[in-house]
Amino acid sequence: MTLLHTSPALVLLLGWSGALLSFSRGAPPSVCGAIGGLAALGLSLLSAKRMDKRLACVASLLVALAALGGFFISWRASVEPTLPQAVEGKGVVVMERPWGGRRALVMDVSGRRWLIYASPALALKEGDSVYLKGFPRRLSEAREPGEFDPHLYWRARGVSGEVLTTELKRSGGGGSLLGWWRTRLRRFLLLRLPPRLRGYMSAALLGVRDPELEERHRRWGTVHLLAVSGFHVGLVAVVFRKLFRNVPLAPAWVSACIWLYTLMTGAAPSALRAALMIEAMILAGWIGRPQSPVHSVSLAAVALLLWRPWWFWDVGWRLSVLAALTLASLASVARTWYGAVAASPTVWCTTAAQIAYTFGSVPLGGLIVNLVAIPAFSLLFPLGAAASLLALLPLPLVGWALWGVEFIFALCEFGLSALSRLLPGELVWFPQLSLVSAVTLFALLGRAVKLSGLRWLIFLLVALVPFV
């Protein structure tokens, strides 16, 4: 069994990543397509010791998809949307988040998404119906290389441009149902739950992070627990799989719940990637095909790139794909208890460079804190969700129960804080850290797709290409 048998989507993912990497280095889309195709061909040949006609067909198809797709996504990334002279009309707020001292609002007006930086005093929430009038302009770009790039960030979220408003007001009429539900749920969580519990539940159910909670978890190296990712979507899948185990068409019901949850949380890239991956695995199980974690992760990542190529530069997409590929590779390589123990430090290792590069540093404590935090929160999140449901009921002593759960969360935080002190300090980014992360990931991936000896070493060298 070779890479082409077990994880063909990985060939596509690496080919397209090569294409987009070339694009970000200033190569024209046609060359990006050629590089994507060559990378796919190289991987196919590297993994094959012999090749029958069927395998040759698969390889040819992958090379063609990598070349054409690489060209297509690079071309899409290069094309700026044409902006009208003016934007005017009714729309719906589809996203709202703090942006420095202001609020960033994404509005869907006449089928296009526009970004507006507005004063918090406007108090517009997701799902609100608004009347917008203003002048569009291109999204601003990063001033210096390596800085946060608002253009890429907002393009990945489907935004066409920024609108300088001359008029913005609430309007009557229906907004978005999903937005309305999210706002309702947010209000409920904020008003009815104790502080910690509402922070965790807002993160897990809405994808909204409490700044203080985020700061604490950032110190412990566990901030990923607050970003809706494969961990959360996986928990939802496990819970609903148990609930629907005796129901006809159980996979369909589980899929529906996963997508509902993903949309409810704001459909962050990590959540979308996880939902797509789990969906691929559910479908594979349903139709009796073998499940390959590496293939499922790659397929989900590739689907997102095809939808919006700008995800490639999104830190959420990158961390999610890196972590999921690491875990999927480990699951293929070491299916024993030590594989489970090694999972957390290995993910730390493969994501450390990206975290340190984006956020300035990565806490060393994360290496050991995650060993406890991940199993603990796999119990605490369902417990918190159950407690939140309890708060809906007009039962006596519900308040006490909620504070009891709050106490358990506080106890867990105390434990994490104590653990993080065992390995204090933070690692700042340096170029060699990226090298370590990339080589670790490729070493694992190579093993997962059954490369060995010289082929595995050459695969490791491929990881060095971006650094040349």
Binding site: M51, T82, Q85, E167
Partner: protein, 219 residues
């Protein structure tokens, strides 16, 4: 089987390495060779805002073959009315009118300033009363002004205008003028007139009041 022998395996390996090397070579060769600066604005319905049409005309790219009719007086060889290609600048008008005379006060006029259709350009003579007749450009419906240095077809270029120039605009006091200058120094040059809405103290109404008097010069 396409490749059964052991040597075929090595051939695949060598082919794979060759592909990676070629991809790396392409990446190295073509890095930084691509930029897409195509047009990103399409014509669309203008807002029902007063004077919007006039503004669109100012900022829109000139059409091919379009000509501007411009009037020049003062210290040029042949004062009069001239037709120039759209997008012309003052020096082109001066050249067309035979050049500056010996009496011309060349430092009083910005030869690089942009023209506009229907403007009147006056080139002052040395010793001419500068307070009132410095090199200016006026449009029919505009008050005479002396927008030197920052002048662009009689309009104030908010990317270059001094504090004093900005204060000439209706509704713009010293603080707002300072805020405009501070904004462009900290956030970069304005890309379009509407960017002024980002400046503290300038709202939609104020912008509409000054829209016809300002322009945005290229950086």
């Amino acid at each position: 089987m396409i490749g059964q022998g052991r040597w075929r395996g090595f051939l695949f390996l060598a082919g794979g390495v060759g592909c990676f090397l070629l991809a790396s070579f392409l990446l190295w060769t073509f890095s930084g060779r691509f930029s897409d600066d195509g047009p990103t604005t399409e014509a669309g319905p203008s807002l029902g805002v007063r004077s919007q049409e006039a503004q669109v005309e100012q900022v829109a790219a000139p059409l091919k073959e379009e000509e501007w009719v411009v009037y020049v007086t003062g210290a040029v060889a042949r004062p009069g009315v001239y037709s120039l290609p759209a997008g012309s600048r003052v020096y082109q008008l001066v050249e067309k009118s035979g050049g500056l005379t010996d009496e011309a006060d060349a430092e009083s006029i910005n030869l690089a300033a942009k023209l506009a259709d229907g403007v009147h350009v006056h080139v002052p003579r040395e010793g001419e009363d500068k307070a009132t007749t410095q090199g200016f450009m006026t449009q029919e419906n505009q008050k005479k002004g002396s927008f030197l240095g920052s002048a662009s077809a009689g309009l104030i270029d908010i990317n270059k205008a001094s504090k004093e120039d900005l204060e000439r605009l209706p509704g713009i006091g010293p603080k707002t003028a300072e805020a405009i200058i501070a904004y462009r120094e900290s956030r970069g040059l304005f890309e379009r007139v509407e960017d002024l809405l980002q400046v503290k103290g300038i709202g939609p109404k104020k912008l509409e009041a000054i829209r016809n008097l300002i322009t945005v010069g290229s950086p």
